[in-house]
């Protein structure tokens, strides 16, 4: 039988899904064990049990000075920035995507401009943002917006252009104005695409968030990682990295779920 025709059954598929995770964990455990037997005070690869203890300590014990649990404060600070940044990007992206996609006048004006803007490396703008908006929350949110907005605009305007011309003509023969076509035909059709776009933008958004937090901040997941790096606290760093991964995965899953739930007619391609 050809390899392309061998399809795993349910049990085998589940096993295969878990396999790479298990292999990485085992590899880590062995590596960590090696180093720790050679030098019990090694900090580079802390034992899985140590990481477990760190997780419990970080999530339950308050800061010695203020009594706040920094882990949750960091999480809240980062999620707030991420949510604001992505939220603003998504709203503006939707607005401009629709305008560029539907109106030839706006397309002629902005399409090339956005294409050029999207070539600017956002991190190169970070110093400017810090100078203009200060070191507070605003500059971090703006960095996420600057980093993700051009992509969302380009993606959504392209999707809007791809709406079959027949549908737009049909709507016109039913007497729809430009406004009605925008809100009743184009908008609902690109909403699932917006969710897709946001899902794809979340990776860069986390990147910009952590970069901004690493450089100037006083709370946040990225800030904490770069702070404890000075003490070689690998257990804390690993905990935070795993936590960020879980958060990113959950957000992605929630968006996919929302897309299926609210746009059941767009089943294919999700």
């Amino acid at each position: 039988m050809r390899l392309i025709n061998i399809i795993p059954g349910r049990a085998l598929a589940a096993f295969l899904v878990l396999l790479p995770f298990a292999l990485v964990l085992i590899a880590y455990a062995i590596g960590s064990d090696f180093r720790l037997t050679a030098n019990p005070s090694d900090k580079l690869l802390p034992a899985p049990s140590t990481i477990g203890d760190t997780v419990v300590r970080l999530t339950t014990e308050g800061d010695r000075r203020t009594g706040d649990i920094l882990f949750w404060l960091d999480t809240w600070a980062s999620l707030k920035r991420l949510g604001l940044g992505i939220g603003i990007s998504a709203s503006l992206g939707l607005l401009f995507g629709l305008l560029i996609g539907l109106l030839p006048l706006v397309r002629s004006t902005l399409n090339q401009f956005v294409a050029v803007l999207s070539m600017i490396p956002p991190l190169a703008l970070l110093p400017i943002l810090f100078i203009v908006f200060g070191l507070g929350e605003l500059s971090k949110v703006v960095l996420i917006v600057v980093g993700t907005l051009p992509f969302i605009i380009r993606d959504l305007s392209q999707r809007t252009i791809e709406i079959p011309q027949e549908l737009l003509v049909k709507a016109q023969t039913l007497g729809a104005s430009t406004w009605v076509i925008a809100i009743r035909v184009a908008l609902p059709q690109i909403m699932p695409r917006l969710i897709q776009s946001v899902r794809l933008s979340l990776g860069p958004a986390w990147l910009f968030l952590i970069a901004a937090e690493a450089i100037a901040s006083d709370a946040g997941l990225g800030y904490r990682i770069f702070l404890v790096r000075r003490y070689l606290a690998m257990d804390v760093i690993l905990t935070y990295v795993i936590w960020i991964t879980i958060l990113a995965f959950l957000i992605d899953w929630a968006l996919r779920y929302a897309s299926r739930k609210f746009f059941p007619w767009a089943e294919e391609g999700l």
Partner: protein
């Protein structure tokens, strides 16, 4: 004056003429079938009738109105594909025929209730009431086209344009759709233009069959000349002309 008047219409894309010197008069309530080989400007002519494109020269006017600059309520259209809105349920698709002309594209309150009732009536008439809450993607090709025709008719256009509406359907469904369309037509008495590849269909449904073809053919440069209407058949009475008496005959009615 005729209902639809087409006067020496030329359409040229770049330097390439598609149709030339098209003249035709259509009376209200006539069913016009348009046939011709691929690339002979049938669909272009339909787009001109729809006002999706404007002719390079000449004018098309419907009911004596000045030539339209963009598609509007007076012209309904059913395409071969993409004629219904995939993001709306079947019922909403039918309601769109009435609600899209409103400021927000929808009805509210009591008006909405009345519109829902009317939509259900329409759905029952076109035989789609059992799937009213589903999305078009779940319908078969024939049902989707029935919905598209129903939706177009709800808007009460002066002229209905059909662009190969049954081209993608299997033969059985196609015949059922012919009956459906004939019924609707006797009910509404609408003026219809239908582009089709199927000659039998064209003669079966149409009152007149217009044939688009290139009258001149340059072997060196086949794209030099555009197409025009080369035949205009009377397709009533099974395509056999002079079957209807034009004179008043009182002889048989005398006692």
């Amino acid at each position: 004056m005729s209902f639809v008047t087409v006067r020496s219409v030329f359409q040229t894309y770049g330097s390439r003429p598609i149709i030339e010197r098209v003249n035709v008069d259509v009376d209200e309530g006539e069913f016009i079938s348009i046939v011709g080989a691929s690339g002979c400007g049938k669909s272009t002519f339909l787009r001109l009738l729809l006002a999706q494109e404007r002719p390079t020269r000449g004018e098309i006017s419907i009911a004596g109105a000045p030539p339209a600059r963009e598609p509007g309520l007076d012209r309904g259209i059913v395409f071969q594909r993409y004629s219904v809105f995939p993001h709306m349920s079947i019922r909403e698709n039918v309601m769109a025929g009435e609600s899209f002309r409103r400021g927000w594209g929808r009805f509210w309150g009591a008006e909405r209730k009345a519109a829902l009732a009317r939509a259900d009536e329409t759905l029952a008439r076109i035989g789609l009431d059992h799937v009213a809450d589903q999305y078009p993607a779940t319908l078969s090709g024939g049902m989707q086209q029935r919905l598209a025709i129903g939706q177009a008719l709800v808007a009460r256009p002066r002229v209905l344009l059909l662009d190969e509406p049954f081209g993608a359907l299997d033969p059985g469904t196609r015949i059922a759709m012919h009956d459906f369309l004939t019924d609707l037509r006797t009910e509404t008495g609408m003026t219809v233009f239908m582009v089709t590849h199927d000659l039998e269909e064209a003669f079966k449904l149409g009152d007149r069959v217009l044939v688009f073809d290139k009258p001149r053919w340059d072997p060196q440069d086949p794209n030099l000349n555009g197409a025009t209407i080369t035949y205009d058949f009377d397709a009533r009475n099974g395509g056999i002309p002079f079957q209807t008496l034009k004179e008043e005959t009182h002889v048989l009615e005398e006692h």
